[in-house]
Amino acid sequence: MTTLTHSGSRKIEKPMEPEAAAKAAGRSKARRRTMSIWIGRVALAVIVIGGWQWFTTEGWVDKFFFGQPSEIWSSLVKLFTEGTAFGTIWENLWITAQEAFLGFILGTLVGVVLGILLGSNKYLSAVVGPYIRIVNSIPRIVLGSIFIVAFGLGVFPKILLAAVLVFFVVFFNAFQGVREVDQNLVANVRVLGASPIQVAMHVTIPSAMTWIIASLHTAFGFAIIGALVAEVLGAQQGIGLIISQAQGTFDPNTVFACMVIIAVVTLAAEYLIGALEHKLLKWRPPNRSEAQAI
């Protein structure tokens, strides 16, 4: 006990020294940690891409089938400088992004509305529930063929397929989100005299929002997949068409180049969704799990 009080009083005499040293040590430790993470990341990329390049150059892996990083790069450059057989890469990218984006919006809107409706109405959900599960279990990607037969080679069938894929992801999350609403909150506002619409506005929708927004990350990925697959199945323009064309001419490098382009688009969209999430859910306690950083 005495030593404790003694050291405590000495700390008051010279307050800055040990604390400042501890702070500096903590900072440098954090800096070292960040540095080592970045070194690891760069090393991993060098090993994977460099290894790929090396293996294909040496001929251990056939670059005719698996492409080669340097040639993927020159394909990328070619796509952006010379364009494609179906117009410039920007035109094609614009078409695909448009399809994915519109499909995403459509699927999200329908998913949210139906999810909230079925989530808050027990009878309706009991009646429609089994059918939704049946539709969910069929391979929806095949619907793309039907849409293209029905609506032609234009943009619309692509939007539709993207929307169908997005719908189920968003729908199930919205539905579950409504189911998880704190019943005490609902009882509370009902006692305060809220109408059913006010209950939805003040409790159900904001509460389900956490679930819905979490689903948007996955949903955008599905929108891109829907648009691309529908383009591969039949289109006049779009990244999917470039991919299927490259497949036809045994050109894996262009396929990989298109994958890179799409990955950049998806990452950008992901960033925007993250920003939206941050804005809408700023009331949430900070998430302490490390998974957030990944």
């Binding site: 909150l185 009882a187 506002v189 006692v191 509460s207 009331w283 949430r284």
Partner: protein, 284 residues
């Protein structure tokens, strides 16, 4: 209060007369389980709470205390019997009622101020007026300066204060409290009980207060109702004649009359608690 908010004057007047009297007569509530069986939660409960009276309901776990409150608020409809508030039968949501739960029913996505404002806003009060009133109430519960925080940024006791302000801001004629302080630590609980008594003495709504804590029931109430194990029914009713204002609930616990009443009521409650325990132990 009335001069500030003229449109609420009628209800305040109501409260002083018989408008806040709660009559629960022969109340029975049965639930249908998903398998199609019926489960009787409460049976033939009869309780009267006079206007402005503080009435506690004590009973073992799962004896239908919360069910009773749900019938009074109008959130659920009785299977048999009736609930009247102020002489009129409860058929929909009873107006002029506020609820307080054990879990603080605050909107996590709304700031403290917006949480407290909900009551007046739902009654159609203009936003500016509601904001002023909510600020005033936050000051009354000692949370001035916390208006812009979110609930997760507050301590348990502070959240309770917000919930209390949100429950009382509409000047309810009836306040239903379902183990409101059950989740708090002992010190915070005592502080909140004092706070509640102070505000209750200013507004004098009729209170139905559910608790497991016999000390709490005796210290706060005018009347303590003991319920039996399920199906719940009224076993005993005790009038608490400790003088008001009660002052500090922690000090009143040591008074002779308090101990006498507490011991008396415990005699009645003890059997029910033992029976409820035996039942759950047997089931497990």
């Amino acid at each position: 209060m009335n001069s500030n908010h003229p449109h609420r004057a009628p209800r305040a007047a109501d409260k002083t007369e018989e408008g806040a009297r709660i009559e629960i007569a022969g109340l029975t509530k049965r639930y249908l389980t998903p398998k199609g069986e019926t489960f009787t939660a409460i049976q033939d409960v009869t309780v009267n709470v006079e206007a402005g009276q503080f009435c506690s309901i004590v009973g073992p776990t799962g004896c239908g205390k919360s069910t009773t409150l749900a019938q009074v608020s109008g959130l659920e409809r009785p299977s048999a019997g009736s609930v009247s508030v102020g002489g009129s039968l409860v058929e929909g949501i009873t107006n002029g009622v506020s609820y307080m739960f054990q879990a603080d029913a605050l909107f996590p996505w709304k700031s403290v101020l917006s949480n407290v404002m909900m009551g007046p806003i739902l009654l159609g009060m203009p936003k500016r007026e509601a904001t002023d009133l909510a600020r005033d109430w936050l000051r009354r519960v000692g949370l001035a300066g916390f208006e812009d925080r979110y609930p997760h940024q507050l301590s348990g006791g502070m959240r309770k204060r917000v919930a209390m302000a949100a429950a009382l801001i509409n000047n309810p004629r009836i306040l239903l409290m379902d183990e409101p302080f059950g989740a708090l630590d002992v010190q915070t609980k005592a502080i909140m009980q004092n706070e509640l008594l102070k505000l209750w003495e200013e507004l004098r709504p009729s209170v139905l207060f559910i608790t497991h804590d016999l000390d709490e029931a005796v210290a706060l109430s005018d009347k303590v109702v003991i319920m039996t194990t399920s199906p719940g029914s009224v076993k005993d009713v005790f009038d608490i004649d400790l003088p008001r204002p009660r002052g500090n609930v922690q000090e009143i616990r040591h008074e002779e009359r308090f101990l006498e009443l507490q011991g008396h009521i415990w005699e009645s409650l003890k059997d029910e608690v033992t029976r409820a325990y035996a039942r759950t132990a047997g089931a497990a």
